[in-house]
Amino acid sequence: MSLLAQGALLAADNTVPTGEAVTFWILAPIALGGAIGMVLARNAVHSALLLVCTMLSLGVFYVLQAGPFIGMVQIIVYTGAIMMLFLFVIMLVGRHTRDSLIEVLRGQRLAAVILGVGFAMLLGTGLARGVGSVTAKGLDEANANGNVEGIAKLLFTKYIFAFEVTSALLITAAIGAMLLAHIEKKPGEKLDQKVLSRNRFTKGNYPGPKSGPGVFATSDSVATPAILPDGTFTERSVSKVVPARELTLTEARPKATNGNKQDGEIR
């Protein structure tokens, strides 16, 4: 706790400690590059990972500015939980899904870039002028008993109503997610074991387990059908998504995995 107070005092005189400056100048380009890369990356997974970079850097910035609690929250909740949600969405829609590059409104992208850069510059220069020479104050009082307690004191006294109302926000989000993503089984729609097995063994279904691919086969490829004891091939052993095939002689040859290049030009 006393460390925090000292840190607050450090920040109170107007010079930025060297460690803080060094860390900032290392991480700031990473954060900014990550953010820009996230927007520009064509692959959704790359976007997500670049966003993680930005969020981690921001977490470190919070810690640097004597807000360790919010820094840890940033890392645990955002880079942990929220990013996981992003990844589930990517797994849902597929990483090959890409934005349509056709512009519906002509020149919209150019206008958006120009306006965006202009807005960023306006805000950046304004803030540089506005807070460039400001002396931080009140930090030592706020963190007097430690950062977490400082937050707790405000959260559970003055902002208690906002805190309680946040629960309404979270539950709305939960109900919304279930409403949009969950199909409720109606009574009678849920099949029990008896019905399920009856459906499975109705006439015409082959009740036994399927023979595995490659069983008694000439190759151990998943695409090679198994040979039944009577010597015929069974297509059932091959997954429906894989077209069954016979291996050619070249394919059946031993593969060059010993670094011998002449044999390695098979595939």
């Binding site: 609690f69 929250v73 539950i171 190759s219």
Partner: protein, 122 residues
């Protein structure tokens, strides 16, 4: 190595050392090993089988998303529980009531999920 940032400097040094260890180990590996690439070596390894053709993507069940969302919900709740644990002896029963209401409302979400059958897989 003292002061507020000093305590994090240790962490920073540890991170740098870890990174350096990783880089040195892999560089040494690359320098010392024999290097004979072949096409067969760079195919994906699937337990000795030929790699299956086709797309490498299978659509994930949206149910995973709902679970992940419920997890995120309670992660946010735990974020509020930390500072609460720090002050709760100062405020006493009042703070128990405060957090009780918050957790109870969130528990409604879990109750709803349970009754709607979100928590059972089949």
């Amino acid at each position: 190595m003292d002061g507020y940032l000093g305590s994090y400097a240790t962490l920073g040094v540890l991170l740098v050392v870890a990174g350096a260890f990783f880089v040195v180990a892999y560089t040494a590996n690359r320098v010392l090993r024999t290097n004979a690439p072949s096409a067969a070596k760079s195919t994906s390894y699937e337990c000795g089988l030929d790699p299956a053709e086709g797309s490498d993507w299978a659509q994930a069940q949206i149910r995973y998303y709902v679970y992940a969302f419920l997890y995120a919900l309670f992660a946010v709740e735990s974020v509020f529980l930390f500072p609460w644990a720090v002050v709760f002896d100062g405020l006493g029963m009042v703070s128990v009531a405060e957090m009780g209401v918050f957790v109870a409302v969130l528990a409604l979400g879990l109750l709803y999920a349970w009754r709607k059958g979100v928590l059972t897989w089949t």
